[in-house]
Symmetry: C2
Subunit: 314 residues, 2 copies
């Protein structure tokens, strides 16, 4: 298996991305080859600092970068030789089995849609965030990405995408799927939530357990997969970030709340595309980068993308 | 000033509602008269337990109650002799200057709209929640109530309602108003947020500071008033409740996080109606009930409703 890594994107590239790649290399079996896409002249000395040889990796040289603040669409079109641009070309031509980056999230999404493309039948690929559960378990919330407004049919597709992620990565046999809402009764919510509830009820391929209020999302046993529009999902994600930041600032440490630390999870896959693409946080450190690479391997190894394809094209 | 209190609504009525009324009575000047609407035979013994005389209060007897789970619209129509029903009749006929309840929130909203009615020009009255700021200050977020879907014009009205609440109750001279969004750039967000941003920019009567992401809402100096649709606002409120509940469960105490305790704030006014109506949490204890009554007095004394009326009908 060949996993491509963007060595240019992210706030602390290439130092921490190389550091994370070395940490991952030490954990991964020889059959997994890491392909470092970035500035060879910077990468090699950093590898040597970590006492590993450049022969343990493939290096694809480039010095062009898509900056964090750049317009994704324009950047993907105008910078084919950027690390992200090269990564997607290699993914498309199957020189890579998977691609991961701490860089520009929008460019990763646009690059995915342009190169390997959405799976047939999937209207809007999306990204999920991990929801730590009180009992140590893991739920997911999706979309938290760029699908700010969603039609009910799209939310129903997120239910399937989330189910597959939960099942094949978090090993939950029949994930409980819930709709994020402002009340438990089925007639509650905004118009989109009301219509979505009706549709989810009829879906035989998911284990729909009804509406869930935000006050219960961290409770064990409540729901493994929570579906929502990208706007509200992103708000939920960022409010959790606010709490975590405030806890840290107050030096409050607690085994449950420490699991809000993004470093543990490493990143989020783009769900619903014809390959494995994982996006890490821009401020990822070496540990987070390593975990992003391991998640990428897990996604590719489990064949989540192929399983989603089968679910949408039975 | 005469403040009506629902002695039937709330999970622990009438014991804690009477207890809260007694606590408030001890703090309020003689010019403020509390009117207890509920079961005289239960209220009087409870007053005696607290060593106060029934002569210190007005008591309006009823035994009919609108339950927490009842349909608001039906309950208001069918139960004119319920404590909430009587409260609104007295408010409408000006036998009361203000009315407060820990009971059915929906019935309080419907009752307000049916009796004292929305202020001319206000399309959708709404309710706000307090957002504790890191520096000890107080922001507000609105709507967190029943306006799940909002048109941009309605969100612009919330900006004015929130400004008036912030200015006259929290004494912030020129409150900074922000739009809850998923990015700071003005083109970010769902369609409603994008359109609302455009309109808010043009409003001269508010100090619009742009979009705010949920990760910054607790930061000092970020925004005093945060405007959003009721759906997302309610989600933000309930996620904060989830965090507070989990902190308490872990016995983590901290001066900042303790301010997420609803008891401190006592309740939320309905903004945009022709009188003063305040709703407390169903699980309010005596302290919370007292604070609900004091907030009701503050709202009525400051004439927030009249000031909103003037702002909408200059």
């Amino acid at each position: 298996m060949r996993i491509g890594l963007d060595m240019m994107g992210g706030d602390y590239a290439p130092k921490t991305t190389v550091g994370g790649a070395v940490l991952a290399f030490r954990e991964l079996p020889a059959a997994v080859r890491l392909v470092l896409i970035g500035d060879r002249d910077k990468i090699i000395p950093l590898l040597h600092e970590h006492k590993v040889s450049e022969k343990d990796f493939d290096i694809v040289h480039t010095t062009e970068v898509i900056e964090m603040a750049e317009s994704p669409l324009r950047a993907i079109n105008n910078k084919p030789n950027s690390s992200i641009g090269i990564g997607f070309q290699m993914l498309k031509s199957k020189e890579l089995d998977a691609f991961a980056s701490n860089g520009n999230t929008g460019a990763m999404m646009v690059g995915s849609l342009y190169s390997v493309k959405a799976i047939e039948g999937v209207q809007r690929p999306c990204i999920a965030t991990v929801v730590p559960k009180e009992d140590g378990g893991v739920g997911i919330l999706l979309d938290v990405g760029s699908n700010a407004d969603c039609r009910p049919e799209v939310l129903c597709q997120f239910a399937v995408l989330g189910k597959m992620f939960s099942k094949y990565i978090y090993k939950i046999e029949d994930p409980k799927v819930a709709l994020l809402n402002i009340g438990e009764e089925e007639e509650k919510g905004n118009l989109v939530a009301q219509a979505t509830h009706e549709l989810l009820k009829e879906m035989k391929q998911i284990n729909f357990v009804g509406n869930i209020e935000a006050r219960y999302i961290f409770d064990a046993g409540s729901a493994d997969v929570v579906v929502c529009e990208g706007f509200v999902g992103n708000v939920v994600l960022k409010e959790a970030e606010a709490f975590y930041k405030l806890l840290k600032k107050r030096k409050i440490s607690d085994p449950f709340f420490d699991r809000f630390n993004y470093e543990i999870y490493g990143g989020t896959p783009i769900l619903g595309i014809n390959s494995t693409v994982v996006i890490g946080h821009g401020i990822s450190n070496e540990e987070a980068t390593k975990n992003m690479i391991l998640l990428t391997r897990d996604m590719a190894e489990a064949g989540v993308s192929e399983k989603i394809k089968k679910a949408f094209n039975p």
